[in-house]
Symmetry: C2
């Protein structure tokens, strides 16, 4: 296949890139990893890997438990809490998310397109079930979430195709899209101004989402209302598409004010 050396050939971040790849590896694992476990999958020589792990640990990006196993470090929490607290999109959207939650009584999400994933930036639940923070920061597939499909719908054709080419479609439920059915639905979404998730990511969960974007498309996201299928019938979902679209509009309006005249 192709003569290129590998995927992501453009990325040249030197030492940092290698260290971040390793950090990702350990962070995305199911549990703590011993040195040998990492050695088996990291494809680095012993000496190199050892020094890299020591450096990451000394910086607090990884931690070593009493058994010498490596796991994600708490320094990441501190860094992320600042990233989150200062995110302008989230700050502007917050009151609208709360209002939408009160109106519908269901869970409201705010997400943003990053690469080929949706990253959730905020979540407002009704009967606060104590599970705060969860979900926030999670990277979810773009092709089977409401926010993801809404985001796709406003991409210009070229960028859409480029993105689709990078996707791998995994089947989560019987309704999960394939490349073909996803493309087929795009026109509907563009026409309606909102996207429905009909149990495409998780059985028993439905959602309606509307896109949010900046004038120059330098960023694209969305807002959604999510809930169990027994409460969120398709009729109810249609009904709520109006307030969801309205929320998206309101957030966009406030962002323009917030940013002021460009320069």
């Amino acid at each position: 296949m192709g003569a290129r050396k590998g995927p992501m050939e453009g990325r040249e971040t030197g030492t940092l890139g290698k260290l971040m790849a390793l950090l990702d590896l350990v962070t995305h694992a199911d549990g703590p990893m011993r040195f040998t476990d990492i050695l088996a999958v990291a494809g680095q020589p012993r000496g190199t890997l050892h020094r890299q792990l020591v450096h990451l640990s000394e910086e607090g990006l990884l931690e070593v438990d009493d058994d010498g196993r490596y796991l994600p470090g708490l320094r990441l929490l501190d860094l992320a809490s600042r990233s989150w607290a200062r995110n302008e999109f989230r700050l502007v959207a917050e009151p609208h998310l709360t209002a939408l939650q009160k109106l519908t009584g269901e869970t409201v999400h705010l997400g943003v397109l990053r690469g080929t994933s949706i990253i959730y930036l905020d979540k407002v639940e009704g009967q606060q079930s104590v599970r705060m923070y969860s979900q926030i920061g999670n990277a979810s597939p773009i092709y089977c979430t409401g926010v993801g499909k809404a985001a796709l719908s406003i991409l210009p054709q070229a960028r859409l195709e480029a993105l689709l080419a990078e996707l791998e479609f995994q089947r989560f439920t019987p309704s999960t899209h394939t490349a073909e059915t996803l493309v087929a639905e795009m026109d509907d979404i563009r026409h309606e101004g909102c996207a429905f998730d009909r149990e495409e990511h998780e059985v028993g969960i439905r959602c309606v989402a509307a896109p949010i974007w900046s004038d120059n498309l330098s960023f694209i996201g969305g807002v959604s209302v999510t809930g169990p299928a027994y409460r969120l019938t398709m009729e109810r979902l249609e009904e709520w598409s109006t307030p969801v679209r309205q929320s998206a509009q309101d957030i966009m309006r406030d962002m323009r004010i917030g940013l002021g005249p460009r320069r």
Copy 2:
């Protein structure tokens, strides 16, 4: 003062250390920074700084807005959400935090000692005021928070002194401790098994906290109940010191089970 080259001389993390220092600088700033702003404070030559910023941005640790200003990147959120979701201390403690919140009706915090700060790992509020995630991940001073003082109280003398030597005492309220008054209170805390925050960090906020530690002191943290002074009279706080201490005990018991027999 002393002949050492600088603080943290032991840390030798090469390229990573320099990049993380830069990441911290931008992340801890009040707002987005332009290249020149960073240049003025980073103490790095133009060429070097530029490449570092490009590398951090390509990895998603920083982002560049439409005006070319740098701010914390969302990659941090993804990394942190995994660090948080998998944190064993937090997972074990969670049901106990919820129980304690229900019993007292006030806000419950879980924190862990990291260096000279307390990092908050979880928070359970009553009338969930929608402000989820906030506070979690925040690094707070050790000498004027309940959890911080509780953690200090179980440190062995040598480690306590080493830590105190590194602290700079900032006066947040009229009741904030100085080095002397803090040391003086230690015996009380050790005797009582819990620490009170008598509006030492924020006027109008009181709290009672109990320490949590592992057998070998490889980790130290605490649990606390926090609330407004008008509700949390000192009598009420004394009353709740019992369930708080009990929660700490329960969490420690469950952690030992969770970790299993050491090896």
